[in-house]
């Protein structure tokens, strides 16, 4: 139950099947709600019909009515993107917290978000075509992480403290450059801000198909590393004596998480909080063993982001990043206090 020892357990904690089943049910309910509800009201029967007509239109190429288009081409890919990105961020956050043994670690620790932010800012302020924005953001995000790795490297080693410090500095410097550019290109400031806060508004099937391979590759690697992360939780020395190649493991986690996060951030913007807090919530309810923590975090992250996006598009909060932090923050504090009283 304690946050300070995220990866203390070497024996896997039970899956707590009841809780897991409940979480899966909530995720499914969230998906159904999110496809059914939106700023345009469409009756449930119509939504089901639209899904059917959407599927058949894949073969027939038939034109869809505006309502069908909304369900099939706007809501469904948007919800799918929410699940994917939420899952990605939460898994990457859990892995980072484990590998750095630091409860404050989140997927943006090594400068991915600031890099993506700078790339997007350059593209937006320069007025490049909108479809180029995520491509530039993705390249810049990967560039930023590479820079952090290069700066933190000590011979063949990657000491965690140096990584964190290098990440913070790279992040701050890139953010400062972004701010400078935003102030120079005054009239596009709001566009950049909207990107920075994260938005799933224009996530179509195409974007989803672009992000999916990165997310599956990065997330898949992390999910496979659960046992190794548990061992690493015992400390570098112990882990090494147990045969874990500590340096290679750290590099692998950093690379896998960065690839997945970079793709997510490039296409939906910098959604805060999910990657930081979801793993902590999961640890409170499921324990700290990574073989359970990582997949459950994926489910919980996906659920949170889908619900947050639903609120974002049906209430005046309007920006998913605002919702995750505004509602996620108090919820987490409440959980934390409750945990403390137990």
């Amino acid at each position: 139950m304690s946050l300070e020892r995220p990866a203390a357990a070497s024996t896997p904690r039970p899956w707590r099947l009841g809780r897991t089943a409940a979480l899966v049910a909530v995720l499914l309910a969230a998906v159904v709600l999110a496809v059914g509800l939106g700023s345009v009201t469409i009756p449930p029967a119509e939504v089901l019909g639209a899904l059917g007509r959407g599927v058949t239109s894949l073969w027939t190429g038939a034109a869809l009515s505006p309502e069908d288009t909304i369900v099939w081409q706007l809501r469904l890919p948007r919800v799918a993107m929410g699940v994917l990105v939420g899952a990605c961020l939460a898994v990457c956050g859990a892995a980072f917290q484990g590998v750095f043994r630091n409860p404050l670690a989140d997927p943006y620790l090594l400068g991915v978000a600031s890099g993506a932010g700078l790339g997007a800012t350059v593209a937006i302020v320069a007025g490049w075509p909108r479809p180029l924005v995520p491509v530039v953001a993705l390249a810049a995000a990967l560039g930023a992480v590479s820079l952090t790795l290069a700066l933190a490297r000590e011979g063949r080693r990657l000491p965690p403290t140096r990584l964190i410090l290098a990440g913070v500095v790279v992040g701050s410097v890139l953010s400062a450059v972004s701010t400078f550019l935003i102030l120079r290109g005054e009239d596009r400031a709001r566009q950049v801000l909207a990107y920075t806060l994260g938005d799933l508004g224009f996530s179509g099937w195409g974007d989803l198909a672009t992000v999916l391979p990165y997310a599956l590759a990065g997330g898949g690697v992390l999910l496979a590393l659960g046992r190794a992360l548990d061992t690493l939780g015992l400390g570098d020395l112990t882990a090494r004596s147990l045969g874990v190649p500590v340096e290679r493991l750290r590099l692998l986690v950093v690379l896998a998480a960065s690839v997945a996060t970079a793709a997510a951030v490039a296409y939906v913007g910098i959604i805060g909080f999910v990657g930081l807090v979801v793993p902590h919530v999961v640890r409170l309810a499921w324990g700290a063993g990574h073989r359970v923590l990582l997949p459950i975090s994926a489910l919980a992250g996906g659920t949170l982001l889908v619900l947050a996006d639903l609120l974002a598009r049906t209430t005046p909060l309007s920006q998913v990043g605002v919702v995750t932090t505004l509602l996620g923050g108090p919820f987490f504090l409440w959980l934390l206090r409750r945990g403390g009283h137990e």
Partner: protein, 292 residues
């Protein structure tokens, strides 16, 4: 909410005109757009304008030669282009402004210029037209401030006449297309009560954005697909077609997706004396058939 003070201000300005005095009497005390009471001891002769629309208005009422400096974005008319550029909203060059020894600095109500300049002993007035009605009331206010009341009154009359000329055409248009106006690809759009929203309606279009969403709302793309507008302004057809679910929309299929020319974009974002041109430019895009 905003219209009430605006109307009061308009009424107040019109009342002030009633004596029809050609000359402003100084000292002149007025409440500016930051709600401050400011007294001008005499007719200002060295003015710094930190808003492009203010610069344009001053020049349009014959006070261009009073300007000694402008903000980075003031570029019209040509006379202001050779004046010292004093920064923008976020990065004003306070020291340079003070060094010019202006007897009046006209600032935006946003930004933080007022405090340091007042501290430096300068007279600062915030004038910030934001709604359609305010464009006229603030023009009259500026006229009073710089002792060009008659010119300001004439400018307002002229603007109203030019606007009426366009409105006569668009009011009687056989069909008013439903329109979506995009100000940036987030997407942000404009509500019917905003400055640009009023112009869009006067240009003979039916804005698909309901007033309840506010003046500059961030719009959920679902709403736009549902409204299926006949005309889209502010983006390219290619851009629109690339968005999920938009390729089948009426405007995209018929090719009525129009990017705004740079000049039109500039004057649409400037609540100043070129408002009639902005309206005409917009009306020509909405109803090309009326302007052949």
């Amino acid at each position: 909410m905003k219209t009430l003070p605006a109307k009061t201000a308009l009424a107040a300005s019109l009342l002030a005109l009633l004596p029809a005095a050609a000359a402003t009497t100084y000292p002149l005390t007025l409440t500016d757009d930051l709600g401050r009471k400011v007294t001008l001891k005499a007719e200002p002769r060295r003015i710094v304008s930190m808003l492009p629309s203010t610069s344009e208005t001053l020049c349009a009422i014959g006070a261009c030669d009073k300007l000694v400096g402008v903000d980075d974005y003031s570029d019209f008319p040509q006379q202001v282009q050779r004046l010292p550029k004093l920064g923008g909203l976020y990065d004003p060059k306070v020291e340079q402004i003070v060094a010019l020894k202006p007897d009046l600095v006209l600032v935006s109500k946003y930004g933080k210029l007022e405090a340091p300049l007042t501290q430096a002993g300068l007279t600062v007035v915030a004038v910030n037209p934001e709604t359609y009605d305010e464009v006229f009331s603030k023009t009259l206010t500026l006229g009073r401030i710089v002792n060009r009341e008659t010119q300001a009154k004439n400018l307002v009359l002229n603007m109203r006449r030019e606007i009426a000329k366009v409105e006569i055409l668009t009011k009687n248009a056989a069909r008013k297309p439903t329109a979506y106006f995009e100000i940036d690809p987030t997407p942000y759009s404009i509500g019917p009560n905003s400055f640009m929203g009023v112009l869009l309606t006067k240009a003979g279009a039916r804005n698909i954005i309901p007033a309840s969403l506010g003046d500059f709302p961030k719009v959920d793309p679902e709403l736009i697909v549902k409204a299926n507008p006949e005309l889209m302004l502010g983006l390219s057809r290619q851009q629109a077609a690339a968005r999920p679910g938009w390729s089948g929309l009426r405007a995209v299929k018929t090719g009525r997706v129009i990017e705004l020319p740079k000049e039109l974009r500039t004057i649409l974002s400037r609540p100043g004396p070129r408002l009639p041109q902005a309206l005409r430019g917009l009306a020509q895009l909405v109803h090309p058939e009326l302007f052949r």
